[in-house]
Symmetry: C2
Subunit: 185 residues, 2 copies
DNA sequence: ATCGTTTTTTACCATAGGGTAAATATTTCA
DNA sequence: TGAAATATTTACCCTATGGTAAAAAACGAT
């Protein structure tokens, strides 16, 4: 869900030619995994087409949705990409999806060559940070019901692509609780 | 709690002289506010000495602690600083505190002059993002009790400086619940 | 269209944590 | 050092959400 006018498919594909980046892309079928826990994540992914879900497993093996990434957004496993920690995130395509793979080296080439790339990269990271910062606030001040309604209002596409169980764990509740909440609306 | 070897008091004070930044600092008494909701936040703060708490008010006017910022860490109101949105955060000194004020312009001067500053700034932002990303995960997978124990283990200084009510709202529970949890340990 | 699979809803009781209020304990400072 | 203010704990009952299980609905492949 991190969208940036600067890191757009148009710009990325232009830079790919101009700086000879050699960007690759990857096609995913519905339900196919782009990344699995345990694998290293050496790429930033840009979603050219389709829809991704990021999840991890809790101690009982339940899938907890951490994030959704629609068309024209970027996604990665930050713990693995930035910190070289063991990756715990799964990234799954919820429909036929096409992603652009951008390695650290390729990103650095862009940053070294494109004047405003540095600032824009910081902006994207700040956006990432504020989104999760805000999410902690919402968890601490709003009921599951109002978080559900807000998600509906702001990201209605999610409801077309994801299962309710995906959305429930994203909201931090069980599928049954979400079902109950929906009934009361 | 965002600490960086690069953005250290030594480096900041060296750069202050080298690039003639004109950095100012501000001394705060115990309980004094460095920032209030509604005020613009034009600075990154570096805590030279002391201990800060970041909080906001929920709809009923309760203070919800969002973050703690001990000595040698940086803090700001990201919504206001990065996005120029209306600031909703209060930053309060929990003891006598001395902070260094770093404006956007001053930070840009550092970034333009110090070769690795760009990368380090991105690193700090990534750290910020991952911390809150991880916090959402913990809220979704761990009980209040285990989050409390983790905080105790990893940030024991907080327990010397902050009130239990501050810690309770940081964990997303009431003071009474925290008290109950402590009793069971 | 139909059978089998998957997803969603419903129903039941259990539990963590909330809200209010009062009782202690601790701190502050005259 | 003692009174007042502040912080913490305790106790009560209440509510939102969890866990298990089963029913109902929707989806998908033949």
């Amino acid at each position: 869900m991190f969208q940036s006018k600067f890191f757009s498919s148009k710009n990325l594909l232009d830079w790919n030619i101009e700086y000879n980046l050699g960007l690759q892309n990857r096609l995913l079928k519905k339900d196919e995994l782009l990344l699995e826990a345990g694998q290293r994540c050496d790429y930033f992914y840009f979603v050219l087409k389709g829809f991704l879900r990021v999840y991890y497993l809790d101690i009982d093996g339940n899938e907890i949705t951490h994030w959704f990434s629609p068309k024209d957004t970027t996604i990665t496993s930050p713990f693995s990409y930035f910190n070289k920690e063991e990756n715990i995130l799964f990234i799954q395509a919820l429909e036929e999806t096409d992603v652009l793979l951008i390695s650290s080296d390729q990103l650095n080439t862009v940053i070294e060559n494109v004047p405003s790339a540095n600032k824009e990269a910081r902006k994207l990271l700040a956006e990432f940070a504020m989104t999760f910062s805000r999410r902690v606030m919402e968890i601490h001040t709003k009921t599951a019901e109002s978080r559900y309604l807000k998600l509906m209002a702001e990201h209605s596409t999610i409801f077309q692509k994801a299962k309710l169980s995906h959305i429930a764990s994203f909201l931090g509740i069980t599928q049954q609780s979400l079902s109950r909440i929906r009934k009361n609306i």
